[in-house]
Point group: C2
Chain length 333, copies 2
């Protein structure tokens, strides 16, 4: 039987990773996906970062943002976690014929506001319209270019390193799922969608040599990012459940829907792995910013279970956090 | 009644231009679409060009190429016509669940071959999968970064300038339409989809100061590109019909389908407006290359009908080539 592409191939989980590793990198060559989903490039005397992301989220509007804010902040954050100053974005839209012009206008306004807030410029664009039934309302691709003047923030991760997260985990994924499922008791729960470049720059300026790894845990959440880091390595990522900041509303929705918030998407959070001696200082610096005020130390790099991510549960047990095969939350970004 | 987005808003015609000018530039700011659909940017000491294009063509495979070759060559050409050396591409895909893995693999192979041929690298990517009925098989966004070391090829256009085209007009649009309409008498007619950076570089090196304007006439074709150039200007673009290179098969399909080939998409052609004194030399240089062997001088910039493009017909009449309101050939790229 002919092999088909499944929903899980776009999940941020195992199926997607396999397709990227074998089919995409295998065909386009190993340079095709450098360092996560951003590429560090040399142009003349400059070092730039180039990244791309397509947003297909449904619904277009959700508590705390819309596909426009998400498209700008998502790409800004992909540049920022490489240690780059985000500078320029492109905006390519696919519109389903019949979309209200007002809806499109509202989303463009969100993009402009998000770009202004993050200090980036949207400089080039492309518009395609397809017939009804050939897209779902609106898809947005934003690619981004940033400049690195200091260190590329991808030093090697070592045993003993400390794992931080910049705030509450799972807010984006869970608020979108609550919206889709018409759950009403989550009043007030919002996506965390925001730009992190300002906060990250403050930390990299204060601690230029202390960060081993940064990543925004979007699709697949914190657990998937940690799995990527430890994959094939002689160490593991250990999380302390009691230290992980989860909002009560997030825990409530997760119980009802049977979702693990560690796999839920975040759109305004960064996971940092840092030199343990500087962890307290970095945490303090992070908490001084509005984006990082709820930051926490959530784990460490250890020698147990090499290549795996695992959780020390609140009651003292241990649970492996596997790389999921498939999609928990389709079209979350 | 709420205003809806129509197919024509993605046509390369009047509706699209209006939406870009008022809604998109109005909301995102005037810097949002610099110089056609590419942006010339300064990063440190370097001048780069940044562009984006989304491809939604149907069918995915057509005579002479597929959506993958198109996605690479289209973005390479957008960079090349700015006078840039194309360097790096991104690749963001939206896949409809259920697409054959083999189809995706074939298209990735086309992208790799096209990138190798053009001398660019695909360095970063993103993969989204949406449920059946929420996309049409496969959409590809390619954004691109190039470097300008010489002149940005956008000098002012002047009365008396010569208009050249690098080969047969309308091959891409008409071959795709023939394929969609199962026309069989066009055997051998193929899309012109190819990268133009090598040819363009040869010309800009030999004639660094002679080119006033270059553009690849994709959606909307040669007539739409000329309309954009003369819009609001005190001069017009005059084409000589008897000098325009049209293949017999293209003329045949156009008669049957009622299409004007001057509005049909090209994916491997450049329209150049050049200093008249250098036109013969540039034409000769162009014809020395495989990409430009069928190049021709097709018109001139004149003072008649300011702001318009018009055709001197083969029988000596004149016909205005208006900016079309709407879509002649939906989803041609």
């Amino acid at each position: 039987m002919t092999k088909k592409i499944l929903s899980g191939h776009g999940s941020g989980g195992k199926l997607m990773n396999e397709m990227i590793e074998t089919l995409i990198k295998g065909t386009l060559g190993p340079e095709s996906i450098q360092l996560d989903d951003s590429a560090v490039l040399t142009i003349g005397t400059e070092t730039i970062v180039f990244t791309t992301d397509t947003f297909t989220i449904t619904p277009l509007f959700f508590p705390g943002g819309d596909i426009g804010t998400l498209a700008v902040n998502g790409t800004v954050n992909d540049l920022a976690v490489m240690g780059a100053e985000p500078l320029y974005l492109s905006c390519g839209v696919i519109i389903e014929e019949g979309l209200d012009m007002e809806v499109f206008e509202t989303i463009l306004k969100s993009m402009k506001a998000a770009a202004d807030h993050a200090g980036v410029k949207i400089v080039t664009g492309d518009t395609k319209v397809v017939q009804k039934g050939n897209a779902d309302k609106l898809f947005i691709n934003t690619s981004g270019v940033g400049r690195i003047t200091g260190k590329v923030q991808r030093g090697p991760v070592r045993e003993g390193d400390t794992i931080l997260v910049s705030g509450f985990i799972g807010d984006h994924g869970i608020s979108v799922m609550a919206e889709r499922n018409n759950l009403t008791f989550t009043k007030g729960l919002q996506s965390d969608c925001m730009a992190l470049n300002s906060m990250i720059m403050k930390i990299t300026e204060a601690y230029p040599e202390s960060i081993r790894f940064m990543r925004d845990p979007t699709r697949g959440g914190v657990a998937s990012v940690l799995n990527e880091i430890v994959k094939g390595q002689p160490f593991s990522a250990k999380l302390y459940e009691h230290n992980c900041p989860f909002r009560e509303e997030v825990k409530g929705v997760c119980e009802i829907l049977g979702i693990d918030p560690l796999y839920a998407a975040n759109e305004g959070k960064v996971v940092m792995i840092v030199n343990p001696g500087d962890a307290a200082g970095i945490l303090e610096k992070m908490r001084e910013t509005p984006e990082g005020k709820d930051a926490a130390i959530i784990g460490e790099i250890t020698a147990e279970y090499p290549g795996k991510a695992y959780l020390e549960t609140a009651i003292g047990g241990e649970r492996i956090l596997p790389l999921l095969l498939d999609e928990q939350l389709p079209r979350i970004c």
